[in-house]
Symmetry: C2
């Protein structure tokens, strides 16, 4: 298993430390951290001149594609993961995308992952040679509360994980990502041990 993290110019680069801590927790020795500067892309996550919204509760989050959408981000992430998978003869890519709870991101939907698997079938050496790389998205259709419960059951180090979109050392507790995370813990009946401002 080879964990892959991408430093793409996200304002919340703090999530890289979180990824490293999780990798260390599981005793994995190889962790590929790939640099790709997407700060020229139009997104609140990569451009400091576009603000990440702060809200009072999840009720204020709309159904539109949010301005934190990074153009083609999961397509880029999966492409890099596919090349890495082929290079180490891995037959599967795992991605923690989630389609529920107001996310609104087109590249977090089942039809996107199906379409991308077709690309891997016809566009990679592995696919053409009959061993296509599969995409596993085990929490795609889970609610955030389900994910928290599953994490607790698996003794996953949830306190080490990171969700906040702001760039702080502690989570802001006000951005969409924080609010959705907090509500997930609340609905599941657990305390979120992530540090908040």
């Amino acid at each position: 298993m080879v964990p892959l993290t991408i430093r793409y110019g996200q304002r919340h680069v703090r999530e890289l430390d979180a990824a490293k801590a999780v990798v260390k927790h599981y005793g994995l020795t190889k962790h590929v951290v790939m640099d790709l500067n997407l700060t020229s892309f139009r997104s609140a996550l990569t451009r400091m001149d576009i603000a990440v919204p702060k809200r009072g509760s999840t009720a204020e989050i709309g159904d539109d594609i949010p301005i934190t959408y990074v153009p083609a981000r999961n397509i880029i992430f999966l492409s890099i993961a596919a090349g890495l998978a082929e290079s180490v003869d891995a037959d599967r890519i795992f991605i923690g995308a989630n389609a529920i709870d107001y996310s609104g991101y087109p590249d977090c939907r089942p039809e996107f992952f199906r379409a991308f698997e077709t690309v891997l079938n016809v566009g990679t050496k592995a696919g053409v040679e009959g061993s296509p790389i599969k995409i596993e998205h085990p929490i795609l259709s889970s609610t955030k509360a389900d994910i928290v419960r599953l994490g607790k059951k698996l003794k996953a180090p949830l306190a080490l994980t990171w969700s906040c979109y702001q760039g702080g050392e502690k989570a802001c507790g006000k951005c969409d990502s924080c609010l959705i995370r907090l509500k997930g813990f609340e609905d599941a009946g657990y305390k979120d041990e992530c540090q908040y401002e």
Copy 2:
């Protein structure tokens, strides 16, 4: 129009100078050069410990996927191009992929580009909002001789372009890419003005 070039750790990084010269020739002011270090990927183009084959003629080039295949390379390139296209509201991506003349690369075939367009339809904001990004591959089914003739007709600066897979300041004239290029010029009845060793 925004030209995009990717410095991915290719041994023939010389092609970046070529790209810059072509951009300058056409008087384009914006040129996005993106860095992405794929030297951990298994390919003769990104790893100096895997040799690029040298041959006597194109007759020695086989039908298999060559060891110069870079895992998922065109998938990665198109993904980044898609994100850039969305960011600048471009409706089309142009790629100079070519499926003819022994190439053998799975990510240079029409079915790959069709599958990737489906990904862009379902996996990007532009696609979901009804303005999907199209992929144009104008020379996909052309022979190399056709490409040379078309370039001459359009007064394209073919002498500024680069094909060689080796890392030299002049083209080697012996790798698959050089041999296929040279044969293309010969078949078209033109002299290749690229500098060879």
